[in-house]
């Protein structure tokens, strides 16, 4: 167990170094996310100008929701892990992992964690600009349970995010190009993951159905916990569904890996 931990600790450290090389890219991305916040502020500010509340929430609460959602994406969201996996399969680099006593999923996951540590730290820089500007609007609930349950919800969200990216990466065993699938899924994720608007503003039946899909648990769930858009009982129920999705996705990952390897011709490398 300790031996395995040491192995993936090394890949985590290598991941940390290789992601730090691209710190400028992440920093620029973080900087541009401030523009996204500006769009949110202007659009929702205009929508709230004739309404005290929308969907039962004030302007401040909605703005806080989008800010937390943004931070969540940098801390738990998959960026380009699917492309990296796809590239390793296509170029044959994956062959070395088949021959070595290393679990490819764990190896990639440790690199994913390192990448999120870097992007998570880098989003704090634009936050230093955004938070003082928006401090009059930002409002978080005070219940302690929200802060206690946030970390496990984020960890499970990260697992779901990575597992979905991993699944798309695995598709390279069957399809030469996965970019189309990835961007199609991004559209669905941005909608059903609550990045475009808080999901609770959807018609009740769609919102109810969305709770049973994995996208809900990618970023919306932890964001809703922290910003007070979900109550305690619903949070506990949410954890059950989130855990179930983690297990399902891990099983799908394993299935795609074993099935994919049967098709793999180990060219290159």
């Amino acid at each position: 167990m300790l031996h395995a931990f040491a192995k993936y600790r090394q890949s985590f450290l290598i991941g940390l170094q290789s992601n730090l090389v691209y710190r400028m890219n992440f920093a620029v991305r973080g900087f541009f996310s401030l523009f996204h916040l500006a769009v949110v502020f202007i659009l929702w500010g205009a929508a709230y100008s004739h309404n005290e509340s929308i969907g039962g929430f004030s302007f401040g609460q909605t703005l806080t929701y989008f800010l937390v959602m943004l931070v969540m994406q940098f801390f738990v969201g998959a960026f380009n892990e699917d492309y990296q996996i796809s590239e390793e399969i296509r170029s044959g680099l994956i062959n070395q992992f088949i021959l070595k006593p290393i679990n490819y999923f764990s190896y990639r996951f440790s690199i994913f964690l390192a990448a999120r540590l870097v992007t998570g730290a880098l989003i704090l820089i634009p936050l230093l600009v955004a938070v003082p500007l928006l401090k009059d609007y930002l409002t978080l609930p005070s219940e302690a349970w929200r802060y206690l349950l946030l970390t496990p919800a984020m960890m499970l969200s990260a697992l779901i995010q990575f597992s979905i990216a991993y699944c798309f990466g695995m598709l390279t065993f069957w399809f030469l190009e996965i970019q189309g699938f990835v961007i199609l899924s991004m559209a669905i994720e941005s909608l059903l993951g609550g990045q475009m608007f808080p999901l609770d503003l959807l018609p009740a039946w769609i919102f109810h159905a969305a709770k049973f899909l994995p996208f809900y648990y990618q970023t919306y769930f932890p964001t809703a916990i922290l910003t007070g858009r979900i109550e305690f009982a619903a949070t506990i129920q949410g954890f059950g569904i989130q855990l179930l999705w983690v297990l399902v996705l891990l099983a799908v990952n394993q299935l795609l890996w074993t099935r994919g390897l049967r098709r793999h011709t180990a060219v290159g490398g």
């Binding site: 400028m24 620029v28 659009l43 929508a47 929308i54 559209a187 909608l191 475009m196």
Partner: protein, 262 residues
Amino acid sequence: MTKYFQIWLASARYSITRTLMFRFDFFLWALVELFWMGVNLLLISVIYEHTDSIAGWSKYEMLLLVGTSLLVQRFLMGFFWSSLFEMGRNIKSGAFDFFLAQPGNILFMASTRKLDLDGLCNSLVAMGVVAYAAHRLNLHPSALDLLLYAVMILCGLIIHYSMLVMTISLAFWITSAQGIEGSYFTLAEFSRLPREAFKGIASVLFVWLLPVVVVSNAPAQILLHGFQPVWVLALVAATFAWFGTAVFVFHRGLRRYASASS
């Protein structure tokens, strides 16, 4: 000029042949773009479930604005996106040498190599959105208004192209432009907002300094309220300014290009 048009036609022929070879890709990408357009339209629909007006714009006026913004973006996707997307990667890998060796304007050669038919097909959907919104608003634009609208869309396309060229040109300065092109989409988000929603510093920055708001608002205003000289002049001036800046930034970046790097 004719030479460049012939080069562009040859690239277009190559792209059409390629699309016919990879039909599944074409359908998949057409679906991808359709979904993204749907997501943007759904956002408007959801907000208007809870309010009647955004900065004085009704639901269908807003739909017309978003449709116009999507139309410009679809043209950008169709005509330039793939080529410029590859440009960023080529700068990193050193494959950009190929364009430097060609006997023609480098920016033209690098920007027009590929056409995306899926983007162009979806521009028809965006036109449909604009037409539907105009129908719901009971608008009857004259032929001149429609012509001006088309010219404004062309100006918008040039501005969006310039913004994307500048974003991708960052690859000359930083190790990799991977993920950077996404920044363009962030800026493009502003073009789906009505001018009246911008106040104070936001108005100065996004309406006057960055042309993102004018790009969609100017053509939409023509359909909604007829010819408005201020909007037209603002957009034409912004087009020249931004295209000139993009060409300048690209050539400054080109000086830093050191062929194959990491």
